[in-house]
C-alpha cells in the first residue's frame, strides 16, 4: 500500500502507544492474554434467567415490543401453511426466496402451500419476501441471531421488504452471554475457531428516526419481520 501505511505506520503507531503508556519492555501482554483466555463476564442480567416456558414468553413479548410479529407453529411440517397464511393475510406477493437450507427447502411446500412459488438462493433485487432459518433467539431483548454460510445468505436478511424467520424454541437463550457460548461451541466443532463472515443480531424490522425523531419502519432493510416460532423439545 501507500507510503505511510503498512509496516512503518504499524510500528510508528504501536511505538507511540507504548511510549504514551510508558510500557515496560518486558511486558509481552500477559494481562491481555489472560482476559482473552478467561473471558470474564459482566453483571448478570436477571430478567433473562428464566425456566423455558417463561423464556418463550419473554422472547415473544420483547420481539413484539420492537414491532416484530410472532406466530407459534406446532411443527416444522406446519410451516408452509403458516407462511402462506401470513402472506395472504398481509396481501403480500406469493413468490418466496428461501435460504438454501435443507431444513427449509425440504418442507412439503407443494402439498401444503400449492399457491406459493418457492425458489432457493441468495436474495436478488426484485425479491420481496424471504424466508430464513436462524441460529438462536435471545430472549433478553427479543433478538434473532443469524449466521452467514452456504445455508444462510446474508442478502436474504436485508434486501427484501418482508423477512420471515424460522426459530425453534430450543434455539432460545436467555441473556446474550448464552448466545456467545453457543457460537463458540459451534466454532469448536466445525469451523476451526473462526466466526462466519457475518453474524447478524436482528432486533425488529429496519427503522429510522432521522426525520424529526419520528420512528419510521422499513428505512433500507425489511419493513416487516415475522418470526415463525416452532415448538420442539429443548435440545
Amino acid at each position: 500500500m501507500s507510503a505511510g501505511t503498512g509496516k512503518p505506520a504499524r510500528g510508528q503507531i504501536l511505538g507511540a502507544i507504548r511510549r504514551s503508556l510508558k510500557r515496560d519492555a518486558g511486558d509481552g501482554g500477559a494481562e491481555a492474554d489472560r482476559r482473552l483466555a478467561e473471558r470474564p463476564q459482566g453483571p448478570a442480567v436477571q430478567r433473562a434467567r428464566l425456566p423455558r416456558p417463561q423464556l418463550v414468553e419473554l422472547f415473544v413479548q420483547k420481539a413484539e415490543a420492537v414491532q416484530c410479529s410472532v406466530a407459534r407453529v406446532e411443527s416444522p411440517e406446519a410451516l408452509p401453511e403458516a407462511v402462506a397464511d401470513y402472506l395472504k393475510q398481509h396481501n403480500l406477493p406469493s413468490a418466496l426466496r428461501v435460504a438454501p437450507d435443507p431444513e427449509l427447502t425440504d418442507l412439503p411446500w407443494k402439498d401444503k402451500a400449492p399457491l406459493l412459488t418457492v425458489a432457493a438462493g441468495r436474495a436478488e433485487a426484485e425479491d420481496s419476501v424471504s424466508l430464513t432459518g436462524s441460529f438462536a433467539g435471545v430472549a433478553e431483548s427479543g433478538t434473532l441471531m443469524l449466521l452467514s454460510g452456504p445455508e444462510g445468505p446474508t442478502t436474504l436478511n436485508f434486501l427484501p421488504e418482508t423477512h420471515l424467520v424460522v426459530l425453534r424454541e430450543s434455539q432460545l437463550v436467555g441473556p446474550i452471554e448464552e448466545a456467545w457460548a453457543r457460537l463458540r461451541e459451534r466454532q469448536k466443532t466445525d469451523r476451526g475457531g473462526s466466526l462466519p463472515r457475518t453474524v447478524n443480531f436482528i432486533t425488529g424490522p429496519s427503522r429510522t428516526g432521522d426525520i424529526e425523531q419520528k420512528i419510521q419502519l422499513g428505512a433500507h432493510g425489511p419493513r416487516r419481520l415475522h418470526i415463525l416460532l416452532v415448538a420442539d423439545e429443548p435440545g
Binding site: M1, G4, T5, G6, A9, I13, I17, R18, S20, L21, K22, G28, E31, A32, R35, L36, R39, G42, P43, A44, V45, Q46, R47, K62, V66, G121, R122, A125, E140, T143, S148, G149, P150, P153, T154, T155, F158, I176, W180, S194, L195, R197, T198, V199, N200, I202, T203, S206, R207, T208, G209, D210, I211, E212, Q216, G218, A219, H220, G221, P222
Partner: protein, 478 residues
C-alpha cells in the same frame, strides 16, 4: 473537514437566530432524554453495567498495543487485510488505492464518524470516485452539502419540511406533484433512490463501533440496515476504525451493547448489530470478496497517558449532547468540526489543537448532565476544565478575559481583601439598584444585560449570609 471551531461565538449567534434549527432542536430536547431514561430505569443492572463498561474500556486502553496486535493477527488469520494509518492523509490514500485497485467508480457508505474526521467524501470526489451516503440522515446532509450536526443523528438540525424541499429539488426525475407530506413517504423515496446504488457500487465503506480482539471481528450497530446492504453487496468492503475501537472479547461486547443502545436512542438493542469476520468464504452464496480494515491513529495515541486518556473510552452514543443545554441551544454546526456537544468539546481540542478549538470547552455551564448520563462515565466537565487551563497557560484567550481571570485570582488568594471588595461591591450595587430592584445595563456586564435585567443585590454577600446562618443554627442547636 475544514474546522470553523474558532468562530464558535459567531456560529452560535447565527444558530440562535435560525428558526428552522430552533424548531428541529426542540425534538432533541425532549425525545432522546425521555427514551434514555425509560430504558435505563427498566433495567435494574444498568448502573452496574455502566461501571463494567467503563472498566472494560480502561483495561483495554491500558493494554491497547497488545489488543491491537491480537486483533490484527486474528483478523488476518481470517482473511482480512489490515492497514495501519498514522494520519488522516494516510487513511484517505489507503482507501483511494483500494478503490482504484478494483477500478471503482462509486462507493456506498454506511455512517462513519471517522470518514467525516478524515474528510473522505471530498477526497474521493476529487479523485473521481462518487461517494454515496446511504444512512437517511447522512443522505439528507449530503444533498444539502452540510456536515453532520450530531454523531448518531447527523440531520437532527433539519426539519421535515426542509427534507421535503431537498428531495423535490434533487429528485427531479420524479413527478413534481407527488405527495411527500408524511415522513413515511420521505423514507420510502430515499429507500427507492438508494436501492440501485447499493447494487451497482464497487466498494462499500463502513465505520466500526468495535473491533474484537478475541475473534478479529469488526462490529457495526445500526437501525436502518443501510450499513449491512453497504457491506454485503459490493465486492469490496472497507472498514475504517480508530485505534480505541478495539475491545477484548465477545462477552465484553455484550456488556457494552447493553449500555450503548439504551444511552443512544433508548432502545434495548439497535435493530441491527452485525459482526464481520474476514471476506466471504468460498462456499458462501454472497458477501464481499475482499475485506479491508483501516486502523487510524490521527492523534489518539498521544492522548494516552495524559489527562485526556479517559476520553478514549467514548463509545459514540451521543447521550452527552442529547442532555447538553448548550448543544440544545446552538446545535451541532456551531462547534465547527465533526465532533459536537460535550464529547466534541473535549475531543476536538485533542485532535485539532486547543488553539483551533479553545472556545468549545468554554461553551459549557458545567451543569454535569453529560457526565451523569455517559455510559462509560467519562468525567467530561473535569476534562473541559483541563482544556481551559491549557488555553490559559498558552495565552490563547483574549486579553480582557485573561485580565479578568488574573484580577479574580489575585482577590481569591487574599480572602480578607476578597471579602472587603465583594462586600463593598454588593452594598454599592444594592444601594444603586434599590429603587427598581434591577439594572437594565451595567459596566462589564453587557453580555448579560443585553438579554435580561441584572437583579440588584440585597445588600449582603453570600459569604456574609452563610456565616450568619451558621451562627444562627449554632445558637438554636445550643
Amino acid at each position: 473537514m475544514q474546522a470553523t471551531s474558532r468562530n464558535f461565538k459567531d456560529n452560535a449567534h447565527e444558530a440562535l437566530a435560525d428558526p428552522n434549527l430552533q424548531k428541529a432542536m426542540g425534538f432533541v430536547r425532549t425525545g432522546f432524554i425521555e427514551k434514555r431514561k425509560a430504558a435505563a430505569d427498566a433495567l435494574p443492572e444498568f448502573e452496574a453495567l455502566r461501571d463494567s463498561a467503563r472498566d472494560i474500556k480502561n483495561h483495554t486502553l491500558a493494554n491497547l498495543d497488545h489488543y491491537l496486535e491480537r486483533y490484527e493477527s486474528k483478523a488476518t488469520e481470517n482473511g482480512a487485510q489490515v492497514h495501519w494509518c498514522a494520519t488522516a492523509e494516510d487513511a484517505r490514500q489507503t482507501v483511494l488505492e483500494i478503490c482504484r485497485s478494483v477500478g471503482a467508480r462509486t462507493a456506498t457508505k454506511g455512517k462513519s464518524m471517522i470518514a467525516e474526521e478524515i474528510g473522505l467524501n471530498d477526497f474521493l470526489e476529487k479523485n473521481e470516485i462518487e461517494p454515496i451516503e446511504t444512512d437517511l440522515g447522512e443522505y439528507i446532509i449530503q444533498l444539502r452539502k452540510e456536515p453532520p450536526s450530531h454523531i448518531i443523528a447527523p440531520a437532527v438540525h433539519v426539519t421535515q419540511d426542509q427534507v421535503e424541499a431537498d428531495f423535490r429539488s434533487h429528485h427531479k426525475h420524479l413527478k413534481p406533484d407527488r405527495p411527500l407530506a408524511e415522513p413515511q413517504q420521505l423514507v420510502a423515496e430515499a429507500r427507492e433512490m438508494l436501492r440501485q446504488k447499493y447494487l451497482d457500487a464497487d466498494v462499500g465503506i463502513t465505520g466500526a463501533n468495535f473491533l474484537i480482539a478475541e475473534t478479529g471481528t469488526s462490529v457495526i450497530v445500526t437501525n436502518e440496515g443501510n450499513g449491512d446492504l453497504t457491506q454485503i453487496l459490493p465486492k469490496v468492503h472497507i472498514v475504517i476504525a480508530s485505534i480505541e475501537k478495539v475491545i477484548p472479547t465477545l462477552d465484553d461486547l455484550g456488556v457494552i451493547l447493553r449500555v450503548l443502545a439504551r444511552s443512544a436512542t433508548g432502545q434495548e438493542m439497535s435493530s441491527y448489530t452485525t459482526l464481520s469476520t474476514g471476506p466471504r468464504r468460498p462456499e458462501d452464496p454472497d458477501g464481499p470478496e475482499q475485506y479491508h480494515v483501516v486502523i487510524l491513529d490521527n492523534g489518539r495515541s498521544s492522548m494516552l497517558g495524559t489527562e485526556y486518556q479517559e476520553m478514549l473510552r467514548c463509545i459514540r452514543c451521543g447521550a452527552c449532547m442529547n442532555h447538553c443545554p448548550v448543544y440544545h441551544a446552538v446545535g451541532g454546526h456551531s462547534y465547527g468540526w465533526v465532533y459536537v456537544g460535550p464529547m466534541g468539546a473535549v475531543l476536538t481540542p485533542s485532535l485539532i489543537g486547543v488553539d483551533q478549538a479553545g472556545h468549545l470547552p468554554n461553551a459549557s455551564t458545567f451543569c454535569g448532565r453529560c457526565e451523569s448520563v455517559c455510559p462509560v462515565r467519562i468525567p467530561l466537565p473535569k476534562m473541559m476544565r483541563h482544556w481551559r487551563e491549557r488555553e490559559f497557560e498558552r495565552n490563547l484567550n483574549p486579553p480582557a478575559q485573561r485580565w479578568g481571570i488574573r484580577a479574580w485570582a489575585f482577590l481569591a488568594r487574599r480572602p480578607g481583601l476578597y471579602r472587603a471588595v465583594t462586600g463593598l461591591q454588593v452594598r454599592a450595587l444594592g444601594l444603586l439598584g434599590r429603587r427598581r430592584g434591577r439594572f437594565a445595563s451595567l459596566p462589564l456586564a453587557g453580555g448579560w444585560t443585553r438579554h435580561r435585567d441584572f437583579p440588584a443585590p440585597q445588600g449582603r454577600t453570600f459569604q456574609q449570609r452563610w456565616a450568619e446562618r451558621r451562627r444562627e443554627s449554632g445558637r438554636s442547636a445550643a
